[in-house]
């Protein structure tokens, strides 16, 4: 069971949340110059590290806000939780490198 600290509601149990997958995705632009391989990757290929993953979570059965989580995919340790409009914390960026 994960214990997630919602930035608005505080610590809550995992069943209140839904994981929305990879954070910080950027749509390839401009649309008329995007080839099929690039578009296919944008649609279907996601980061899948054995290590620290940056992902979005939704407090579906709470405040219904989205936020970012940096979580280790082997230990499930949560390294950082930050708001949607915040950049990746430096400590987490270092751990991913």
């Amino acid at each position: 069971m994960l214990l997630l600290h919602c930035p608005w509601c505080g610590p809550r149990d995992e069943p209140e949340f839904v994981c929305g997958g990879q954070s910080h995705m950027v749509r390839p632009e401009p649309w008329h110059a995007v080839d099929e391989a690039t578009w296919g990757h944008y649609l279907f290929t996601r980061d899948n590290p054995k290590g620290v993953h940056l992902e979005r979570w939704h407090h579906a059965h709470g405040c219904r806000q989205w936020f970012n989580v940096a979580r280790h995919t082997v230990t499930h340790e949560i390294l950082a939780i930050y708001r949607m409009d915040e950049p990746v914390p430096n400590a987490v960026a270092g751990a991913r490198a």
Partner: protein, 417 residues
């Protein structure tokens, strides 16, 4: 290879069982092989066996980081079926089911394939309509499947609560009679033993840490903890670790790794002689020959490489068992674990070439890889040996994620993931 048969068993019994040999050889790696297979699970071992048996390529090594069948091959719920929706999938999975039907004899190893039927239980009018649609599609694909009434479901699963006021009333079901279960470890061990007898080197505790490539970028070998091993061609069948290996080769895959849990109860007297899946709860279970109930459910829906499950999903699945089969409510669980499954967007496997020339892939089976072991091995071997995809495997190429020709079995697998 000392054959397993009644005469040898009798003779060994009379002589104190001192004459058995190890099931497979454990040689030191050669400096070079014609083909290296990364991953000593069912798919990798099956590929090595069919390379040797069907294509006569015996200078082959299977590299396994841990022990044989210690990943998803030993962590699944052992169900074999081919009740898929699309013709491409039906052709693929039924090829596998037909290989399973002859596998014990083929490998001289009892894989305990038991065609006890795989039953889907339907709980609402919409489930019934969906069931009829799927059965119709399966019949058009030449797969044996038919609808069942509530009484017929109850006849096969007397434990099931089919009362009208049940939380999940049973309106009917459908069944694939040729589906069933097999012993998962035996599939891995049987392929390993048969491949080893044909000259394949099975190397355990051998982890791939990198690729050697020619100046043109073609793979010419792998780096391992046992040193560099050369190869003309390399196949990879590493399931949940596919993106990790792909990263070593310098490309990305549309694969996400999730934990899929399974549970086994204490042994019981026979109470269940088929496989049941509930559309409403995603819970499915069967009873092993040892008597344990083998229970599964949905995914933990966030990326994970931890081979253990999480409690919210355990609670959901076990709650479904207790609710739908009330007499099992007091049965104890003995074990609980997870396998790391390689989920792709359309829930269909990825078979064939990769962006690295000479490296071939078999992955993306997601939550249903065990049933695909014979066909996955067969198709990977065919592609490596002949240089082109088998007709059945061709639609499952990696290129479908840029062409858009997906084979979207996401909903049709009958399980809620």
């Amino acid at each position: 290879m000392k054959r397993y048969n009644a005469w040898n068993l009798l003779w060994q019994g009379l002589t104190g069982h001192r004459g058995w040999e190890p099931a497979w050889r454990s040689p030191a790696p050669k400096p070079r092989y014609d083909v290296i297979i990364i991953g000593g699970g069912g798919h990798g071992l099956a590929c090595a066996y069919y390379l040797a048996k069907v294509h006569g390529i015996t200078n082959v090594a299977v590299l396994e980081r841990g022990w044989l069948g210690g990943g998803n091959t030993g962590r699944n719920t052992t169900i074999v079926r081919s009740n898929y929706y699309y013709p491409q999938s039906a052709a693929l999975y039924d090829f596998s089911l037909r290989l399973f039907e002859g596998l014990s004899k083929e490998l001289n190893y009892n894989v305990m394939f038991s065609q006890r039927g795989v039953m889907n239980v339907l709980h609402t009018r919409h489930d019934m309509e969906a069931g009829q649609r799927w059965v119709g599609a399966m019949n058009l694909n030449g797969i044996d499947a038919f609808m069942l009434t509530t009484e017929q479901v109850k006849q096969r699963i007397p434990l099931l609560n089919t009362a009208k006021d049940a939380r999940y009333p049973v309106l009917g079901g459908f069944v694939q009679p040729r589906g069933g279960t097999a012993r998962h470890d035996a599939v891995a061990w049987g392929y390993a033993r048969a491949a080893s007898a044909l000259g394949v080197d099975v190397l355990q505790n051998c982890e791939v840490t990198g690729f050697k490539r020619s100046t043109e970028g073609r793979v010419i070998g792998v780096e391992t903890n046992l040193g560099t091993i050369g190869a003309d061609k390399v196949g990879m069948a590493v399931a949940g670790h596919s993106t990790v290996i792909a990263k070593l080769a310098g490309f990305r895959l549309p694969v996400s790794s999730y934990a899929l849990q399974a549970f086994v109860s204490e042994p019981l007297k026979p109470v269940m002689d088929t496989v049941m899946t509930s559309f409403a709860t995603g819970m499915y279970f069967s009873q092993s020959d040892k008597g344990g109930l083998v229970i599964g459910g949905g995914l933990d829906h966030y990326l994970s490489y931890a081979q253990r499950g999480n409690t919210p999903l355990l609670r959901h699945v076990i709650g479904a068992v207790a609710d739908q089969l009330p007499s099992l409510g007091r049965v104890h669980l003995l074990r609980h674990w997870a396998g790391i499954v390689d989920v792709v967007h359309d829930s269909s496997p990825i078979l064939g070439e990769t962006p690295m020339p000479g490296l071939y892939i078999n992955c993306g089976w997601g939550t249903g890889g065990f049933k695909g072991i014979p066909v996955g091995g067969w198709m990977l071997a065919h592609h490596i040996a002949t240089g082109r995809a088998h007709d059945i495997a061709a639609p499952f190429a990696l290129s479908r994620f840029s062409s858009g020709a997906l084979i979207d079995e996401a909903a049709a697998s009958g399980i809620a993931h």
